[in-house]
Amino acid sequence: MYDISYKNKMLELKHIKFERDNKKILDDINLKIDTGKFIAITGQNGSGKSTLAKIIMGIEKPDSGEIFFEGKDITNKSIDERARMGIGFAFQQPVKFKGITVLDLIRLSANKDMNKKEACEVLSTVGLCAKEYIDREVNDSLSGGELKRIEIALLAVRNSKLCIFDEPEAGIDLWSFQNLIDIFKNIQEKTKGTTLIISHQERILKIADEIILMKNGKIFSEGKPNDVLNEMNIGRKCCAMNKGFKENCNND
């Protein structure tokens, strides 16, 4: 049943815990994200960012806790049910297939029988010369950067209410960063939904409405970009000062 108190609330996580091999990957995460926001999640490697994103998509199941999407409890919903409800996910490492083409995936993601011209337009938005790529198989013949751009295009065409990008900047070195940022803005304008980005890139963090900083499976800090980035920079400086004294510096 829809809870009126969830108006304008896209996502809420309550007491999410996830443990593997006796290690707490996520330790009692509580989070509320409003509709129409651009949220960046950052933190050092192993802080739990990607696991958190996968738990929201349903790719990983939390050991305990609850997840609400637009006020509905989706904790026990499968990946495809969440996708159909309006959650989209772009993988850090794009998946390869045999025999499935770029066009096939664009059509599946758009959930309609797009013609080639329409599909080519989607591909052009990520800087790929569409005609060269549209009929190619999504396999090893494509470079990591090309696969990554296709992955981003698949989420861009999906019109999801909640778009989750797991480190979208990785592997796009030959492509302009500004284009990537433009895509995020376009998606948000089009869907009026929420974008959730896992990123280490300061240029992406700076354009977020809010940054969530994770550390050791917990939300260490959350707030406006300047505040959180300042906090991170202070952390970095402390770390540099402590180098040589403290072996396990975790504030980078």
């Binding site: 998509m57 790719i59 499968s78 990946i79 495809d80 996708a83 159909r84 989209g88 996910f89 993988f91 998946v95 297939f97 045999k98 025999g99 499935i100 083409t101 096939d104 995936l105 599946l108 993601s109 959930n111 698949l154 999906r158």
Partner: protein
């Protein structure tokens, strides 16, 4: 032809079968034939099959050689020989469909031999299909023998998607100077079906090349075996790739053999057998497909 026969014919050959030269064999006998100025089809004197002659320099003609069997219990054997003249360029569409509604096993063994003269090019499509409500087996054993003279090329695509209980498929090739053989095989087995594919290719002259690709899906209790042997007798290139998806309690065996009898022979064999990758399923599920739909899409793409 009744509806069952027409449907069988369309399934294996498409709807435009009667546009070019063709020979339809039904229940062990030739029933319809058409020849053209460039393609002649002649029955063998001993009645065991047909010879197909394509004149040299023939361009872009399509030849259909389908076989359909609806008579349960029939064991049909046919020998078809294709003689392709110099620099001809043709498409040949063959295949066999069996409809078996009864208890007796029905079998078709089609032995096709291709002799390509210098510079000839052939695209050869072969589709095997079975249907019917009977518990009699539908058995198909195709044999393809190819001899490619200098500069000739043959691209063969063989598909067995549904309804064949047992098959032993043999493809043999002798490839000479600068000639090229490309074989792509796609097989899906289910239930208690069995499929054995045997490839035996000799690369006998400088510049000879062959690429054999097998993509198969084995489900339920079915069994598949893939045996390939490529022999490089000169400066040549050979590549065999066997990819199989295995599901349920199926079994797949891949036995590669590459033999280099010349220091300049460049031969590669790749084989991979495994279940559908979990990350592929997850990716398609993030696009809104159920697990079952995702699995079907992956298999459809794999065998496309």
């Amino acid at each position: 032809m009744n509806n069952i026969e027409e449907n069988l014919l369309e399934t294996i050959s498409g709807s435009d079968i009667r546009t070019g030269a063709y020979n339809i064999r039904e229940n062990g006998k030739g029933v319809e034939r058409k020849i053209t100025d460039n393609v002649n089809i002649v029955s063998k004197e001993d009645g065991t099959g047909i010879n197909i002659y394509v004149k040299e320099n023939t361009k872009f003609e399509i030849v259909h050689i389908p076989v359909i069997i609806t008579q349960s219990g029939l064991k049909d054997v046919v020998y078809n020989d294709f003689y392709i003249g110099k620099n001809a360029n043709v498409i040949i569409i063959a295949g066999c469909g069996i409809h078996n509604d009864e208890h007796n096993d029905t079998q078709h063994d089609g032995i096709h031999r291709f002799f390509l003269e210098e510079g000839a090019k052939v695209k050869y499509y072969e589709k095997h299909y079975g249907e019917g409500s009977g518990d009699g087996k539908r058995i198909l054993n195709p044999v393809t023998e190819v001899e490619l003279k200098e500069g000739a090329s043959l691209e063969m695509e063989s598909i067995q998607i549904k309804g064949v209980d047992s098959t032993i498929r043999e493809t043999r090739g002798k490839v000479y100077k600068n000639a090229n053989l490309v074989v792509t095989e796609k097989i899906l087995t289910a239930g208690n079906q069995t499929a054995t594919s045997i490839f035996d290719v000799e690369l006998n002259d400088k510049g000879a090349s062959a690429k054999v690709t097998s993509r198969s899906v084995a489900t339920e209790q079915s069994k598949q075996e893939f045996k390939s042997k490529v022999v490089g007798n000169s400066e040549c290139f050979g590549h065999v790739e066997c990819d199989a998806i295995i599901k349920d309690n199926a079994r797949v065996i891949s036995t590669p053999e590459i033999v280099a009898n010349n220091v300049d022979a460049n031969l590669i064999h790749e084989a991979a057998i495994g279940k559908i990758a979990g990350d592929q399923l997850i990716k398609l599920m993030t696009l809104g497909l159920t697990e079952k739909e995702a699995e079907e899409k992956i298999i459809e793409g794999f065998l496309k």
